[in-house]
Amino acid sequence: MDIGFVPTAQPVGRLIEELNKLPGIGPKSAQRLAYFLLRMSADEARSLAEAILAVKERVILCSECQNITESDPCLICRGDGRDGTTICVVEEPLDILALERTRGYKGLYHVLHGAISPADGVGPDELKIKELLSRLQGRPVAEVILATNPNLEGEATAMYLKGLIAPLGVRVTRLARGLPFGGDLEYADEVTLSRAIEGRQEA
C-alpha cells in the first residue's frame, strides 16, 4: 500500500494500514478516518474497539443452521413451536430476517453463505452444503425449501442442492415465481415473500 511519505507516528501509520484493508476504503479515506479517530475521546474510541472485538469474539455461526448468532444453537434452532421437519435454505443471514418478517414460516433455516458462482471462485465446497447434508442424516426432515435468490447463481445452487437432496427421499421445493427475476430475497416485500412460500413448488 502507498500512503505517501507523510511522516507520521507509527501507531497512526498502522491504523491507516488497517483501515485501508476495509472494502471501499482507499488510502485517502483511510487517512481521513485515522485522523478522525485520533480526535475521538478515549471513551468513544474504546467503545468502537470493543464493538469490533465483540463481533469477532461473541458472534459465531450456529452449529446447526450456520446463521450468525451469539449463542449456539441460535434462537431459531432452539425456539419452541418451530417445525423441525422443514428446512428453508437461504444464501445469506439477511434472507432469514426477510422471511421472518412475513411471520408465515415456522420451520427451520440453513444459511449457505453464498451461491455457486464460478466467476467469483465460489463452488459447492465454499458453501455450507456439507453441514446441510449432515443435518438431513438421521433426522426426520420431510421437506427442504430452496429459497436461494431468483437469479442464475441462485438457480445453479438450487439445482445442485436438489441433485444431492432428492436421492435422500426428502421432498425438495423451490419458492414460487413471482419474485422478480434477478432480484434478491432480501429486497422482496413481505406480501410477495409470503405468497412465494405458500405457492412453493416441487423443485
Partner: protein
C-alpha cells in the same frame, strides 16, 4: 411512430436542449463536432440503451457542466405511437469521470429495467461505419443481429442477457475444472442453460437473417439499377449441416447439447466455450462472391445500405409500426444515383432524421418538404420547412 419532443440535459456537449420534432423528414445541418450526431445518438440510446459511438457510458456525461457533487446526464423523449403517447427517459449519474456510472430508466415516469425500455421505440440507424458490418469482424455482425432482434422481441433481449452471463460463468468453470478445482458434474446446470437460451437466440437469428436476405435481395437490385443479386447467409456457431431445414427450438436445443458434449474435452483444454451463438456469423454474397473478403469499398457500402433498408422493412413488418430512421452523414459517401434512391426509399417512413455537413447532396424538391435545423456548438435552431 415518431419522436414529438426530445430533451437533453448534460448530455455530451449539450448542457440543455428542448427540441420539438414533427412527423416526416428532418434535416440537421451543421459543421463537424457541432453536436448533430449526438442528437441521433440520443434517440438511438433511448431505443436501445446502447450508444452507437462509445462503450464507456461515462463519456455520455457532459463533464464541463461542473458544479458540486455527482453529475447527471439525462435523455427524455415523448414518442407518438399508433396506440398513444409514451414517455421514455434514461439518466446516467457518476461522481467523477473515472467512477462507475449508475443508469436509471423510466417509462411513463416509472422506474424500469433495460428489458422494459428496449422495444418501446424502434430505430434503424444508417452511418458511415456501416461498411464495417460487411468488411469487419464477426462480433460487429452479431451485435447488429442482437440490436435488431431485441427491438422487436423482448424475450430475445432477456435470453441474450442470460446467455452472456451463463457463458461467462461456464468459461470460468471450464478453467476451474481443467485446474482440478471443480468437478465436471458442476457443468450440468450451465450446459442446460446455455442450450436453453442459446437455442432461442439461434432460431431467432436464423429467422431474422432469412427475412433480411429476402428483403435485401429486392432492395439491392434497385440500388444497383437491376444489377446485382445479394444473398445473406446465417452461419450458426453450433455448426450447420445436420439440422437441414428443420430449425425449431425443440430440434436446435438437443443439437446444441449434443455438440457441447462432443466439444467437452477440447473446451476443457482451452478453458472456453466453443459451441453456441457467441460464435455465429453472417455472410453477404453478391452473385455468389463473399463481400467480407472480396467486396470493394463501394460494393460493401451498397450492401450495407441494402441491409439497413431491409432492417427498416423487417421492423415495419414485425412490429406493425414504422421505425424511426436515423441517417448519420451517409449521403456524402454515395454517388448521386444511390443518394437519390436512398432518399426516395426513406421518404416512405413516418419520421426520418438526417444529418449533413451541407445541403449540397439534397435535391431541391426533397429539401422543400423537409424540416430543417441548424446545429451549431450545442444549440439547435429550427429553420422551418424548406429552410
Amino acid at each position: 411512430m415518431f419522436v414529438r419532443h426530445l430533451s437533453l440535459t448534460n448530455f455530451r456537449s449539450y448542457s440543455r436542449l428542448e427540441l420539438d420534432l414533427s412527423e416526416h423528414l428532418a434535416v440537421l445541418e451543421g459543421g463537424n463536432a457541432q453536436g448533430k450526431t449526438n442528437l441521433l445518438e440520443a434517440i438511438y440510446l433511448l431505443a436501445t440503451t446502447r450508444s452507437p459511438l462509445v462503450t464507456n457510458e461515462s463519456e455520455l456525461i457532459n463533464w464541463h457542466a461542473g458544479g458540486e457533487g455527482p453529475l447527471v446526464a439525462r435523455l427524455f423523449a415523448e414518442v407518438q405511437r399508433a396506440g398513444g403517447r409514451i414517455q421514455v427517459e434514461i439518466a446516467w449519474q457518476a461522481q467523477r469521470a473515472t467512477m462507475p456510472v449508475r443508469k436509471r430508466i423510466r417509462v411513463n415516469g416509472v422506474v424500469r429495467r433495460v428489458v422494459d425500455l428496449v422495444g418501446q421505440i424502434n430505430v434503424v440507424m444508417f452511418s458511415a461505419h456501416d461498411i464495417d458490418l460487411i468488411g469487419g469482424a464477426p462480433a460487429l455482425r452479431r451485435r447488429y443481429l442482437d440490436i435488431a432482434s431485441s427491438q422487436v422481441d423482448s424475450r430475445y433481449l432477456y435470453s441474450l442477457q442470460r446467455y452472456n452471463r451463463v457463458l461467462a460463468q461456464r468459461n470460468h468453470l471450464l478453467r476451474l475444472i481443467r485446474d482440478r478445482r471443480a468437478q465436471p458434474a458442476e457443468l450440468d446446470f450451465w450446459d442446460r442453460e446455455l442450450a436453453e437460451t442459446g437455442s432461442y437466440l439461434t432460431v431467432q437469428r436464423r429467422h431474422l437473417v432469412a427475412t433480411l436476405s429476402d428483403l435485401a435481395h429486392v432492395l439491392h437490385r434497385q440500388l444497383t439499377a437491376g444489377g446485382e443479386g445479394l444473398q445473406i447467409i446465417y452461419l450458426p456457431g453450433l455448426g450447420g449441416g445436420v439440422l437441414g431445414s428443420d430449425w425449431q427450438p425443440e430440434r436446435v436445443k438437443p443439437e446444441l447439447e449434443a455438440r457441447l458434449r462432443q466439444a467437452r474435452q477440447r473446451e476443457l483444454a482451452l478453458g472456453m466455450t466453443l459451441v453456441g451463438p457467441h460464435r455465429d456469423d453472417i455472410q453477404f454474397l453478391v452473385e455468389g462472391v463473399d463481400m467480407n473478403v472480396y467486396g470493394s469499398r463501394g460494393q460493401q457500402r451498397t450492401v450495407a445500405l441494402s441491409l439497413r433498408l431491409a432492417e427498416a422493412e423487417f421492423m415495419l413488418g414485425r412490429g406493425g409500426e414504422h421505425p424511426i430512421l436515423l441517417l448519420d452523414d451517409v449521403l456524402s459517401e454515395l454517388d448521386s444515383l444511390r443518394r437519390r434512391h436512398l432518399l426516395e426509399s426513406v421518404s416512405r417512413y413516418q419520421q426520418v432524421l438526417i444529418t449533413a455537413t451541407d445541403l449540397d447532396g439534397f435535391e431541391p424538391d426533397f429539401l422543400a418538404k423537409a424540416a430543417q435545423f441548424r446545429v451549431d456548438g450545442g444549440t439547435v435552431r429550427p429553420l422551418g420547412i424548406g429552410g
